[in-house]
Amino acid sequence: MSATIPGDAGLAQTILWMTRLAGGAAAINALELWAIRTDWSDGGIWRPATLRPTWGALTPLLGSRGFRAVRLAQLSAAMMMIASPVAALGQPVASAATAMVLLGTLLAAMRFRGTVNGGSDGMLFTVLIGLLLSRLAPPDSRWAQAGVLYIAAQLTLSYLRAGLVKVTRRPWWTGEALLAFLRLPAYGAPSPLVAWAETHPGWVRLAGLAVMSFECVALIAWRSPTWCLMVIAVALVFHGTVALLFRLNRFLWTWGAAMPSLWYAAQLLR
């Protein structure tokens, strides 16, 4: 097997677009955490005095001052990723920015123990790990390709796993599960929508079946670019709806950042 893929412009473009999109997702992440900084400062909810015992050597980075510096560094690095006329910045600078955002995401996950949007941080971390591997590897090498395909595989797995679990749960077939999620105070779905859903069980059931079906068949994106485009379009509508109804805006941006990898995988298998 050849170690390089001569002239694979699609790979370079995929990495470039994912760098920009992941930078956007990371910038939103940093801004949101910055906006609620009083909650993780001294006297806040996630105050250092309570969480410090498990930090060990990372205490300087996770305390109030250190973590503010980490947030600002992550925001700066994320802006560099977005601006990413990476050709002008150079590969080392782009790699360093990606590594900085990766480190910031890891530190945030440690700081809050997964309570601040655990799932979206997980996907952002996956995208950043794959991107860093692709950037550190020689351009157009198999390793660079492996980084992108790792992201595509995790993205597909995220839908497939969620869909297969739903299939085994009877409330998802009857619509009760979707209605229960709409009622959960954690997501704060608009009350007129909840009231409508309670009086239209048939539509709720249909929506639940649609979600389950999409998640289970997302794997067909690998079959051809046409199928892939359809899956990406449905996925963006799905995540946009979830962002609007369930307030999960970060899911839209982190899953969106991973989408180019799926397009690349479909092109590769064509």
Partner: protein
Amino acid sequence: MRLLLRTLLRLLLPAWGFFDVVGVVPVLEWRPMASEGQWGPWRPVLTAPRWQWWHAVCHPAGTRMLALHAVVDRATFACLQHDEDATESLTLVSHLVEQVATSTDPQGLTHGWAWRLVAQDGADLQVVYQREHPRALP
């Protein structure tokens, strides 16, 4: 080091288990002490922030609310399972209630407050933890 390894493991091998099914719903409630020995009614601590369409892009208050619900969930299930990590989760919940009690109700600030974690399973309600924070009158 243990925290680093646990976090890395969770991020590198994500479970991708979203919206499986709703089981027990944890609810955090608090009440102020209106006067010596007289408690006010229980009320929810967490209320959804106001929503605008552009929050689909960036929504710090919404992200905060989801995170606080995650803290409440973790504390409730830690209590239900008699988890040894329950102390830390309960302390975070205590900070949250203190913030709400002292910022929204002067009576709570003067006399004290109480809070409880309730596990709601359909029509069944189970109080899994309750704590009082009385304050000495000046």
